[in-house]
């Protein structure tokens, strides 16, 4: 048996010599994003098991409606929404340091994931854009233009939502309770992201 293992190891190294570095494949985004978000959701839940009672009084409805995410969107639009949301969540966690009671490491892990996720999405969206530009050389662009306009309306709503969150934190002076409220809200965001990601499959 040890001989077989040695042999396997050797052949494995031989094979590795000839393998090339795998590059980012935009077709693989789905499974990658799903895992990153899932991990982030778990990390966020881990930080504090229960919502502190003393913070109930400052809870706020940030009015996240399903209107922000209309049902009929192209894959590209969904990717844009995922990108925007990830970017906003990243922004919220990075601009103002969360409370000390939360484990810095967990926040860092979430940030690392979100950062990588947005980088990938950006790259893939830019690739899509190139393809689209090539297509548009052949097809009249009016139809796609109107589609873009609708999307921008939706993105505005999304941005308004995140802006409200940012203002709320600022208004509450980044207090522990305010962060707890935001943590709940971010969990909801990750949940929505997860739903969006499942549409990419």
């Amino acid at each position: 048996m040890p001989n077989i293992q040695k042999c396997l190891k050797f052949s494995y190294f031989l094979f590795l010599l000839f393998t090339s570095a795998s590059s980012l494949d935009c077709n693989l985004l789905y499974s990658y994003l799903r895992n990153v978000n899932w991990k982030a959701m778990i990390l966020l839940s881990k930080m504090n098991k229960e919502f502190p009672r003393q913070c109930l009084s400052i809870r706020m409805d940030f009015e996240f409606s399903q209107e922000l995410l209309p049902p009929e969107q192209s894959l590209k639009d969904i990717k844009i929404v995922i990108y925007e949301m990830s970017q906003h969540i990243f922004n919220i966690f990075s601009q103002n340091y969360p409370p000390h009671t939360w484990e810095v490491e967990n926040i860092q892990k979430i940030q690392i994931g979100l950062h990588q996720q947005t980088e990938y999405l950006k790259k893939c969206l830019e690739e899509d854009e190139k393809e689209k530009e090539e297509l548009e050389k052949e097809v009249e662009d009016e139809i796609s233009y109107s589609g873009l306009a609708i999307l921008q309306v939706n993105n505005l709503e999304l941005q308004r939502y995140f802006k409200t969150i940012g203002s709320y934190l600022k208004e509450k002076k980044y207090s522990h309770c305010a962060w707890e409220v935001i943590r709940l809200e971010m969990r909801r965001c990750f949940y929505i992201l997860q739903k969006l990601i499942s549409q990419l499959k």
């Binding site: 077989i4 396997l8 052949s11 494995y12 094979f15 590795l16 000839f18 393998t19 090339s20 570095a21 795998s22 590059s23 980012l24 494949d25 077709n27 693989l28 789905y30 499974s31 990658y32 895992n35 990153v36 209107e67 844009i80 990108y83 925007e84 970017q87 906003h88 990243f90 922004n91 990075s94 601009q95 860092q108 892990k109 940030q111 690392i112 994931g113 979100l114 950062h115 990588q116 947005t118 980088e119 950006k122 969206l125 830019e126 233009y145 109107s146 873009l148 306009a149 609708i150 921008q152 309306v153 505005l156 709503e157 941005q159 308004r160 995140f162 802006k163 940012g166 499959k201």
Partner: protein
């Protein structure tokens, strides 16, 4: 609801300019409506502009109003602060507290005393959508043959336009030698990045532009800045910093001199996205501190998949070099996926295949993030027909194979939705054949048979031995009665055949017999008959007894 992308707004504006000439209510005869009303928003400066061809300085003022539109509902018209009774052809309405993500409708008219012009056609926009990115603020720092670029995002700290997008900015930079007429080189940079490999003591000029690629916004360029690179440092910086991430993460670099010690630092990539100074966020890798080798394993430090930056510094004890160029390292992209390996084991009616994925036992569990599926190809050894199957487990059985035929297997790991998979390598080829159960059964039967036969033989031998022992130690002298009957008719000579001894003793007996013939013939026969049947070893003994008998009889 009309769509309103920036271009659409422009179209609307052109239309409004033309249309506004026609409708004119009574009592608004003499005043013209402002033409070509446009909104210009750069960062957080909101400007409304219009054309006014008629006589200037004629006490004509302009006033603008806005209406919020939220989910189709329109609010009342409000004064646009900063755009009331304006004498020029533009006004700054930054101070109007607008939600930048909310659509508003703006209209303007000219006023002269009590007289007012008709409203221009409404301009519909959401501030964020029409907002343009202003020039970023750039600071340069020369370091050896590099220039460090420090960029402050566009807008002021208090401007809320880009607050939600502050970490989405991408900066494009164009740099050129001041003396040359060659078009500059373009780089995409983060704040704090270095432009490396420039000529020493040379003047370089550059300009920077901020972009929001997904929003399709490209900002205006910063003013051109120039800087002289400095003289080269005494110790060069390490070059060709590369990451080798096959099994572990290993950083490699080149250095021209011997007897140097090196140290490696890493930075969590996301700090580059946050618009604050991250120079204190670099962490020294404990395993890569004061090392002499030109490579270092930093797997211990990198526990979360993500994007990192690495840099190396050389030192000869007294002088320390500058940091090397930063090497971006993405654990997912740079980690190589080697082909799996397989082991095939035969079973009674199937072959079981075990796939092992390289690197999985290592720090980087590939399949955790990417669900791997396995494409298994197998074929009969001599044939060219390949069978393909896709499995998700790493251990599985292949049945429906012909027994005693050599089958060969190879496998490769694919990602769940990987379609263009030509470049992905197959594992080693493993061959095996099914050794069916039948031969085994016959062997068992044969073994059982041999065992049983052996038992019988042993039993038989034992029986014989027992018999022998019985004869040696417990001889029976009396023959069965029927034997007596049989031998009575036989002539005596026939009994005396086996050996000389026998003959001799028999001769002696004969003599006795002759003597005793008359007395008891039957008894004599008896003795010789019995002796004939047995070994010579018993003979003398029996002879004695018989002779004893005879003497007794004689007596």
């Amino acid at each position: 609801m009309p769509s309103f992308s920036p271009a659409a707004v422009l179209v609307l504006l052109v239309a409004s300019g033309k249309l506004s000439r026609f409708p004119r209510a009574a009592g608004e005869k003499n005043l013209e409506t402002p033409q070509n009303v446009t909104v210009e928003i750069v960062d957080h400066n909101f400007i409304l502009k219009w054309n006014w061809d008629n006589e200037p300085n004629s006490n004509v003022t302009f006033s603008a109003y806005y209406q919020k539109i939220k989910s189709g509902k329109m609010s009342n018209w409000n004064k646009l602060i900063g755009c009331q009774n304006v004498t020029g052809t533009k006004c700054d309405f930054t101070s109007t507290n607008l939600n930048i993500f909310e659509k508003i409708r703006v209209r303007i008219r000219s006023e002269k005393g009590q007289e007012t012009s008709p409203w221009c056609n409404d301009v519909l926009f959401a501030p964020f959508q029409v907002a343009q990115i202003g020039p970023p603020e750039v600071q340069l720092e020369a370091e050896d043959t590099s220039i460090i670029i420090n960029i402050s995002p566009p807008g002021t700290i208090n401007s809320s336009m880009w607050a939600t997008h502050i970490s989405s900015f991408t900066y494009s930079l164009i740099i050129w030698k001041n003396s040359s007429s060659v078009e500059g080189t373009r780089y995409t940079v983060h704040s704090g990045d270095k432009i490396n490999d420039l000529s020493p003591e040379t003047t370089y000029c550059l300009k920077v532009q901020a972009r929001l690629p997904i929003q399709k916004k490209s900002g205006s360029y910063s003013p051109i800045l120039c800087i002289n690179t400095t003289a080269q440092h005494k110790l060069p910086r390490p070059e060709n910093v590369e990451v080798d991430a096959v099994n572990n993460y290993i950083l490699k670099w080149d250095y021209p001199y011997e007897n140097m010690s090196f140290q490696v630092q890493y930075l969590l990539g996301y700090y580059k996205r946050i618009p604050s100074d991250y120079s204190d966020k670099w962490k020294t890798i404990s395993d890569c501190k004061h090392i002499i080798s030109r490579h270092c394993d930093f797997s211990e430090e990198i526990t979360t998949d993500g994007i990192y930056y690495l840099r190396v510094q050389a030192s000869n004890g007294t002088i320390t070099s500058l940091w090397s160029a930063e090497r971006k390292f993405d654990t997912r992209i740079h980690t190589r996926r080697g082909p799996p390996s397989i082991i095939v084991k035969p079973h009674k009616d199937s072959l079981s295949v075990y796939i092992s994925v390289p690197g999985e036992s290592e720090k980087k569990p590939m399949s955790q993030d990417y669900p791997l599926i396995y494409e298994v190809i197998y074929w009969k050894n001599a044939s060219n027909i390949e069978n393909k199957m896709i499995v998700k487990q790493k251990l599985f059985e292949v049945s429906d194979l012909k027994p005693l035929t050599l089958y060969c297997f190879k496998v490769r790991a694919l990602l769940d939705n990987e379609k263009s998979s030509k470049s992905i390598q197959f594992s080693n080829v493993e061959c095996s054949k099914i050794t069916p159960d039948e031969p085994k059964k016959t062997w068992i039967i044969v073994i059982c048979f041999i065992f049983i036969v052996g038992l019988i033989v042993i039993a038989y031998c034992l029986k014989r031995l027992l018999k022998l022992v019985k004869y040696v130690f417990y001889p029976s002298c009396k023959p069965p009665s029927n034997m007596d009957e049989w031998f009575s008719d036989q002539p005596l000579k026939n009994l005396l055949v086996t050996s000389e001894e026998q003959t001799e003793s028999c001769i002696i007996e004969k003599a006795n017999i002759i003597v005793l013939e008359e007395t008891n013939q039957n008894e004599k026969n008896d003795v010789c008959n019995k002796q004939d049947n047995h070994d010579s070893g018993n003979y003398s003994n029996e002879d004695e007894t018989s002779s004893n008998k005879m003497t007794e009889e004689k007596l």
